[in-house]
């Protein structure tokens, strides 16, 4: 079941921006990046406010990393503008970058150096001469203290990911940009990073720009989010609004398909029926409040229900663009 993208945007989650928001930390306007004929990012607009955990969601190849690379001044936009901390990135590059900690894609480090040496070097590049104590505290924060003296070439991917987070936090940045930070982590690691991100916002009032291709990961921690696809933002808003105000696709597993077809066709739910599948399932688009009504209706008309499952419209929609 796939909604038409255009209808979906208009009916449920219209794009909205607070262009003149005084608290905005990142403002991206009409951002485009082309590689030859290929448009990796096209007309992207987004605003991240101070204190946000902002989910930057999209399937692989949607343009997330390209956007982050532009945000980190690693690649130049073809057109459009990026402002961070209220200043244009192009003209205030160094000033802005000193306030950002980031993981950009894979966590690559100098493999021939130890974790501690890597952090010391990166600290110096940020004009901070870190003491061993400070470095150890950073490593402890991500559970790598006991490997401080180990060369990074001996680290697993998950450990490098943790080290990536440590280096992003090293200079106490105001804005933290995390590109798929839980990639390669085990479930415990994922939980720890999630908790760390939440702590960074609640205890240190950091703003976090979190890129991911996993919707549940974003919805667990982000307060606002955007979904991008093919380089363009398709939905932006608060996570609770996007997730809770939407309709659900409810699947009723029933015992009498023919009877259900007849009674539903003449019922108040007729326009909500999305289809019937060969495995005795009927799919109905319903709000959360109406699931009980529909269940009662079916049972009252003698339809046995073996099971009920639901998929949120947003999730369905996100899966559809991910699949495509």
């Amino acid at each position: 079941m796939i909604f038409h993208q255009q209808n979906y945007n208009i009916s449920l989650f219209p794009l909205e921006h607070s262009y003149m928001d005084q608290n905005s930390i990142i403002e991206i306007r009409s951002l485009c990046k082309s590689f030859g004929q290929f448009k990796a990012v096209y007309n992207l607009d987004l605003t991240v406010n101070q204190g946000d955990i902002y989910g930057f969601l999209g399937p692989n190849g949607a343009g997330k990393s390209t956007t982050i690379r532009m945000l980190m001044s690693l690649i130049s936009p073809t057109s459009g503008s990026i402002s961070v901390f209220g200043r244009p990135l192009m003209s205030h590059r160094n000033e802005i970058l000193s306030g950002i900690g980031a993981i950009v894609e894979k966590p690559d480090f100098y493999l021939y150096l130890t974790a501690e040496e890597n952090l010391r070097i990166l600290g110096k590049m940020n004009s901070i001469d870190l003491s061993s104590k400070q470095i150890h505290r950073s490593l402890d924060q991500v559970g790598l203290l006991d490997r401080a003296k180990s060369k990074v070439k001996t680290f697993s991917y998950g450990m490098k990911q943790r080290l990536g987070i440590a280096q992003a936090l090293l200079h106490d940045p105001e804005l933290i940009v995390l590109d798929e930070p839980t990639n390669g982590l085990d479930p415990v690691g994922v939980k720890e990073i999630r908790e760390l991100i939440l702590r960074l916002r609640s205890e240190q009032q950091k703003t976090i720009f979190l890129s991911s291709h996993i919707l549940p990961e974003v919805e667990l921690i982000a307060n606002r989010m955007v979904i991008i696809n093919k380089g363009t933002a398709v939905i932006e808003g608060s996570v609770s609004e996007l997730l809770n105000s939407g309709m659900l696709t409810v699947n009723f597993s029933i015992d009498d398909m023919e009877k259900a077809k007849t009674i539903l066709r003449e019922s108040q739910f007729a326009s909500s029926v999305l289809g019937f599948s060969a495995d005795s399932n009927v799919h109905i688009k319903l709000s959360k409040e109406r699931i009980a009504d529909c269940t009662t209706f079916l049972v009252d008309h003698g339809i046995g229900i073996d099971g009920i499952s639901s998929t949120r419209s947003l999730e369905e929609y996100f899966l559809s663009i991910t699949r495509s």
């Binding site: 970058l97 100098y110 004009s127």
Partner: protein, 279 residues
């Protein structure tokens, strides 16, 4: 910030095993040459000057520390380019291969500063390598063989007096640094152009070989422009051992080598500043 990045780059260079290959090779090769000269030197130079001995009468020995240092300088400057490119060619390409361009260029330091610091680090490494070579070849040779007159046979025979030699070696080593810095600069430029560490080494060595072959040709327009090829000037350090040092030729070599170095640096700067970091 430049000096901070420079110190970081130097510490990175000396944390990598490949950076010691050059020092190791020189440390092994120079004593081997010296040992060979110590045991077989007299016979070797006797054979070498056989023709001359039929026309001239020689007293004493040619074999001394200065001659050994000269031989080592001559032989090692053929191989040192490879040792220099191992490090200079890795300065930028190594970051691309390791994916650390992202770490480096997302810091609040301009790309100009990073490139200039990396270039300076590569030059300091080159200086260190030549200094080590001079220390071993000159210091150890003088210790083992003592000093004396320097007898050089090329297109003519030059005999330099003992007290007229040391300054020539000083300038020759300085010129050696300039030559090898040019090689390092070219490797550095290739390092900015490609994203693997082998490419710059292969390209630099290929350029040296091709230019050397072209330099040997005397045909047509090549004859008129070959003085512009840097390979033609890499061994101009030998000019310091002519009885009257040809300052004009040395200046020309300095200009050509310096020009190649500056042009290489500017190309590397332009490429990196404009580069989209996609690795």
């Amino acid at each position: 910030m430049f000096f901070t990045v420079l110190s970081i780059e130097l510490s990175k260079i000396f944390s990598k095993g490949r950076s010691y290959i050059g020092f190791g090779a020189i440390t092994i090769l120079v004593p081997i040459v010296q040992a060979a000269m110590y045991s077989e030197g007299e016979a070797y130079f006797g054979l070498f000057t056989q023709g001359l001995q039929q026309q001239f009468s020689f007293t004493g020995t040619f074999l001394n520390g200065y001659l050994i240092a000269f031989v080592v300088l001559q032989s090692l400057l053929v191989h040192v380019p490879l040792l220099v490119t191992l490090v200079a060619g890795d300065m930028l390409a190594g970051e691309a291969t390791g994916g650390t361009y992202r770490l480096l260029f997302s810091r609040p330091v301009s790309r100009h500063t990073i490139v200039l610091a990396k270039y300076s680090a590569a030059l300091l490494y080159t200086i260190g390598l030549i200094a080590w070579m001079s220390l071993l070849s000159m210091g150890l040779s003088l210790l083992l063989f003592g000093s004396g007159e320097l007898f050089i046979v090329s297109s003519s025979i030059t005999v330099l007096q003992k007290e007229d030699i040391l300054w020539r070696f000083g300038y020759a080593y300085l010129f050696g640094i300039l030559s090898m810095s040019t090689v390092a600069s070219i490797a550095f430029m290739f390092s900015a152009l490609v994203e693997n560490s082998i490419g710059p080494i292969a390209m630099t060595m290929a350029i040296i070989i091709v230019f050397t072959i072209i330099s040997a040709l005397d045909a047509g327009f090549i004859k008129d422009v070959k003085y512009l090829l840097f390979t033609n000037h890499l061994i101009s350090w030998r000019l310091f051992f002519e009885e009257t040092v040809p300052v004009d030729r040395i200046l020309l070599s300095t200009w050509v080598l310096g020009g190649h170095s500056i042009a290489s640096l500017l190309i590397a700067l332009f490429v990196i500043v404009k580069k989209d970091i996609l690795s």
